[in-house]
Symmetry: C2
Subunit: 224 residues, 2 copies
């Protein structure tokens, strides 16, 4: 009985990590599509979100059945609850990749601002780094690492601030860039939200190790 | 034993509903603050978010303990899991009210566009209607109503679309309104996200009644 449970728990971890990788890939591709004005890649991201959503439903169901049928001890229950909660965060991150994909499709050959696009690409790099690090911290149940990762969110907030100001300035300077600048602003806000979701997952890793529900970063200083 | 469990479950429902009311109030106040340029009210919304976050932590802990200590039967477990998941959605809705509050504080006497502010106020009315209806549907475990509420999200998407276009047009027409228009755009995007979270809660109510995890609205048509 215990062996079956261990196997199921292991399978749950693997499937959660896989979902994380699917989401990270979607985010990465969505930003690449946006920067490269690659509508086909954007459509691919939107399409792949179905798989991510399916995976979340699968994780929900497995988690629920494990709790209902096996009545796990507290420490195991905590792991299952973590997967249950953190998979929602992953799913929402995927939704934001879709939003970036949709921004890409909407853009209709407007004038581009290379400096802002560079900042968005750099911001996305930081988000990617966070997204990869969090899966590693999850697998290793490393709450110290999780706390470090949550701190990277401040870096993301600084990019938001910079991009917001640049978009305002650029539009004032040349009003014909307004459509593009509004998209830049929205994409930066999606990336910032993704950073918030990663921070949520950091909180779940701390919970997994300590049993304490903490709140990291209160987001009072962010721009978008 | 059963009576204690029933009491705890009832208390959980009450606390969840209260959290929902706190969140709805925060959203309502944040939009009023934004429209009225009332920075004090905006600060009040930001401050009140701490209580909302505390309430979420409280619901998490109660839910977890009920599962761990009482090993509920499947139908009860489903209720507890619903609270666990839906309280995250409520908490995120509160975060977006905070974002609207921060937009209000950021605005520095820029030129206003009454027509767009009217649309934002109307959009917020629809969001408020959704937010109130969902709490009612939750208490009554009314999945038919939940499905109807999820449909209102399309109305919100139409407002997003309208506001996005108006912001672009207004900025092109008068570039000095850019800062205000970007804030309008962001506030509309927060309201749209809030609608998405309500839709998530609709999904949880359907799950509560049917045990099936459904996905309502795929958001492929939304603008922001």
């Amino acid at each position: 009985m215990r062996q079956i449970f261990e196997d199921e728990l292991n399978e749950l971890h693997v499937r959660f990590s896989e979902m994380g990788m699917m989401v990270n890939e979607a985010i990465y591709k969505s930003v690449r599509a946006f920067i490269d004005h690659d509508k086909n890649l954007a459509r691919e991201v939107i399409e792949s979100d179905k798989q991510i959503n399916k995976r979340e439903v699968d994780l929900e169901q497995r988690s629920f059945e494990m709790i209902a049928l096996q009545q796990p001890v507290t420490s195991d229950l905590r792991m299952i609850v973590t997967v249950m909660k953190a998979s929602s965060d992953l799913e929402r991150m995927g939704d934001h990749a879709v939003s970036i994909g949709k921004s890409t499709i909407r853009v209709k050959g407007n004038r581009r601002v290379p400096a802002i696009e560079k900042d968005i690409a750099d911001m996305a790099e930081v988000v990617k780094k966070m997204g990869e690090a969090i899966l590693d911290a999850y697998v290793k149940e490393d709450e110290t690492r999780a706390l470090e990762i949550a701190n990277i969110d401040r870096e993301i907030d600084r990019y938001s601030d910079k991009i917001y100001k640049a978009c305002v300035q650029e539009t004032q300077h040349d009003p014909s860039t307004v459509v593009g600048n509004m998209d830049y602003l929205l994409v930066a806000s999606y990336l910032e939200r993704i950073g918030d979701y990663v921070t949520n997952i950091c909180e779940w890793i701390v919970y997994l190790k300590t049993g304490k529900i903490v709140e990291l970063n209160t987001n009072l200083n962010e721009t978008l």
